[in-house]
Chain length 321, copies 2
Amino acid sequence: MTMAKPRIMVLGFGTVGQGFFELFNMKKHSLGLNNVTISEVVDAKFGHIIEPGDSIISELKGGKTYEKIDPVKAIMKSDADIVCEFTWLDLKTAEPAYSHIKAALGQGKHVITSNKGPSALKFRELNDLARKNNVQFKMKGTVMAGTPSFNLLELLPGIEVKSVRGIMNGTTNYILGRMVGGKDFNDALKEAQALGYAEADPTNDVDGFDTAAKIIIISNLLGWNHDFNNLKIEGIRKVTREQAANGTKLVAYADRNHAFVKPLQLQTGDILREVNGVMNAVEFETDTLGKIYSMGPGAGKIETAQSALTDLVSILNNWHK
Amino acid sequence: MTMAKPRIMVLGFGTVGQGFFELFNMKKHSLGLNNVTISEVVDAKFGHIIEPGDSIISELKGGKTYEKIDPVKAIMKSDADIVCEFTWLDLKTAEPAYSHIKAALGQGKHVITSNKGPSALKFRELNDLARKNNVQFKMKGTVMAGTPSFNLLELLPGIEVKSVRGIMNGTTNYILGRMVGGKDFNDALKEAQALGYAEADPTNDVDGFDTAAKIIIISNLLGWNHDFNNLKIEGIRKVTREQAANGTKLVAYADRNHAFVKPLQLQTGDILREVNGVMNAVEFETDTLGKIYSMGPGAGKIETAQSALTDLVSILNNWHK
């Protein structure tokens, strides 16, 4: 690997990929990263873009396309040091992101992803592969976008986490908030879809799978063995307006032995009860600080781009050690 | 400086000093810090303890004392690489902590402090001195003890902070909460004193000076020029029970051009309105994430010890670069 001039491949050039490209170019000077370049972009629709210029996004909007390439082949022959995996989510197979990340780590490339599929479904295998190849596998964007979540623990050396609790899905929290306002579930869901908070197929959000992936990822990073097989997952489809009005939220919880995602009525005085709209929040119960909280946006173009920038700087800082 | 076996001097062996001593010994193995030692303790009451053993605190409780030494003289002749300044607070003169820290930095020693005096009153001078001597001046414990506050920004490379807002004094927040419950200010203050949340002379807390020191420290770290001379400071003595019941909190605010501490009625839906009891919270308004929050305890023995441990690990991590 070239240490002096790190090169980045961006894989998947949709909202997140373009957001990262823009944010990286905006911030690289102030971060002292003039020696770092996004050397290539690979996208299913746009093709294989080598040495993309500053105006690439407007060129693509103007209809320009490049030669298609199989992403795994592109990774195998790439001289990039870091691969940013920003393709689409599949919480059943983790593909195609899983194959991309496996190929990149196997080639001794660092990986940054905001894709919950590989991180939740294949964590141990990919983490082991990264260690074996002496590279980093970073996934800040998978939980609460750029808002500090599990990486808060980097600021708390020696701390012991006893349990984690959170409201980690903005879509369901928005819907429940609208139900407090008197809408029924279906109308609130339609509104969330119209606003772009919920997808056409809302299953991942409203049935709790997105939240489950996040608590699984946090658990894995803490060394706790939870996965989709042992997790109890219940979404918000059966929550009534009355329950919503009484402080019911979709809560994710994990400790070393237990983990679940389910609607829970939160008590008055519980700060998580006050987390409204699309805001996300995570609580860590610890030995030295008791309960601490991080709150902020959990999704969005620039918010997720910030998470990838955070991961990038973390990789670069550790690189020179 | 010895790189292989870092040595620490603890200056001030009251609640915070003893808490740090205990926490360091409890966590050093799991943190891989077996090569690091607390090589000496200097305390106005207990004297100069060289190579303190694990049982030193119970020995001191049993009445054992050591030869007195002038702290600055102790620093000048010490072979410690890191000085932890844990003596008492004086928000008018910053002494004696200021003289201790100045001597330590001047001798090329890293400094860790939870003392708001030097950090708020002498920030620029001490920070310049640290840079000149190529050592670190760390003060996590001055704002919200070990709960992430300004150090959250280490997780957010490239982010631009537009403004900071917070509830950073547990004593006043507790008193206001009791006033919501129907007590008048004086009764609530007496209760806070009885519980150990407020000191016999409550001025620093209830008149806003403690909160002011914290927003000054954050401002300095962000490169904003605020100090006790330009800050508008108003405490909670004039807050009525009705105002408290309507969501009035003691709020600290800063942006590049303005800073204040004063009681403000927070709106419904403002998450800071829901921060109750002795809990502290800080909000950063940023360019890429909008508003993000950190919440948790702002004081306490082990909570402040955690902040010093965080600073220690940060110094050690950067040392080997």
